[in-house]
């Protein structure tokens, strides 16, 4: 594995190689070299299985961090390829020609995050949501509690308690929950 990683640093300029566990390593590559790296891993290094494509919204840094998790059945190694893209007008090269299952993940990412994958088949088709008129829901600036309250309402009589404060009220009833 370490020779592979050295080669990737040399040829693709990958950075931030972190071993998360003995079987999982993540690395970061730039957006321009992303598809090329993944293709190389699939064709020449035996990472023939695509586990998933997911995205984490690091809104504080203004990026979406995509992860392509690949698996090598022969060496039983997992490699997670991180690619950072911008949150506004998010776009990434499509890899639907590399795996026949990839277009579904890309369709979901477009719906949930608003990331465009030019060329991916049936990208505009809805995946989970029907008649959705708001921003892509998995973005961190989408407030799902507010949306649910406004659109669906809440049945009266529902009460939520913060455990620490509630326990104080139960333990110190005479002092109104004041433990001092």
């Amino acid at each position: 594995m370490s020779e592979l990683l050295d080669r990737l640093v040399r040829d693709f300029g990958v950075t931030e190689i972190t071993e998360r566990s003995p079987a999982i390593t993540t690395l970061k590559v730039s957006r321009e070299h992303g598809e090329c790296l993944i293709r190389e891993l699939r064709d020449r290094e035996g990472f023939t299985h695509l586990n998933f494509i997911a995205c984490t919204d690091w809104i504080e840094d203004g990026i979406f961090r995509l992860i392509y998790m690949l698996h090598n059945y022969a060496s039983r190694q997992n490699l997670g390829v991180h690619i950072d893209i911008e949150r506004d007008n998010a776009e990434m090269t499509s890899i639907h020609t590399l795996w026949a299952q990839a277009w579904t993940y890309q369709r979901e990412l477009r719906e949930m995050y608003g990331i465009n994958f030019p060329g991916s088949p049936r990208l505009e088709e809805n995946f989970c949501l029907e008649g959705w008129d708001d921003m892509p829901p998995m973005r961190r600036d989408f407030d799902t509690v507010k949306y649910s309250t406004e659109r669906f309402g809440h049945r009266e009589g529902r009460v939520s308690l913060e455990p620490r404060d509630h326990m104080k009220v139960l333990l110190y009833p005479n002092r109104g929950g004041d433990e001092s």
Binding site: C128, L129, G131, S148, F152, G153, H154, G157, R158
Partner: protein, 210 residues
């Protein structure tokens, strides 16, 4: 809920294209009247109660317990319950758990195709108050804003014995003549429909699915 004023107007069917509007009826739903002679109405209620045919539509989590309910261990068919594949032949719609917006549209469509008298049993806490997914952007929080519910079964998820208890209680209610969900739907039709349209955004079906 406000009662729909008694008018003879037809429905708009605005969601359909003009060619499709010729294919679907735009009549308003009608309430069914009980039989004038009480003995016959009691007999009819007894017959309805002992032949509750449920629609085979597993809408959410709780419907995983419908299969044990209908098979040998808990055996709901000794109460006259059978699962039917089409809404035309069923009289009970079991809302199994949470309802997502996409499913709600299909539930409305299937419920309106069922022929009265028809009943709804809502399982779990999700139709009652949103349950575990109360803050989800895709599941509704109060099911009886959209369709009339005759019986709620609490739990997450309710056991098959609880469902059997619900069926027995529904049978008692029907024999007592108390289950009028279908008529309530007709009486407050405009309000139910407005609630449904607030949530279901692409309404490409008739206003009442006969």
């Amino acid at each position: 809920m406000k009662k729909t004023p008694d008018t003879n107007t037809t429905l708009e069917n605005a969601g359909l294209s003009p060619e499709d509007q010729l294919l679907f009826s735009n009549a308003r739903p009608r309430a069914y009247e009980p039989y004038p002679i009480k003995a016959i109405e009691d007999f009819a209620n007894w017959a309805r109660a002992n032949s509750l045919w449920i629609l085979a539509f597993g809408t959410g989590c709780c419907s995983i317990e419908l299969r044990p309910l209908m098979t040998a261990r808990f055996d709901a068919s000794r109460f006259g319950v059978a699962g039917r594949p089409t809404p035309r032949q069923s009289s009970v719609f079991i809302i199994g758990g949470y309802v997502s917006v996409k499913t709600l549209k299909r539930i409305v469509r299937s419920y309106e195709q069922m022929q009265g008298p028809k009943f709804i049993i809502a399982l779990g806490s999700c139709p009652a108050n949103g349950g575990m997914y109360f803050d989800s952007y895709n599941t509704i929080n109060q099911f009886d804003l959209y369709l009339p519910v005759d019986l709620y079964v609490t739990g997450c998820m309710p056991r098959p014995e609880a469902l059997l208890g619900a069926i027995l209680e529904l049978q008692d209610d029907i024999k007592a003549g108390k289950c009028d969900g279908a008529n309530r739907y007709v009486e407050h039709f405009d309000e139910y429909k407005a609630n449904q349209k607030k949530v279901i955004k692409d309404w490409n079906m008739p206003d009442y699915n006969w």
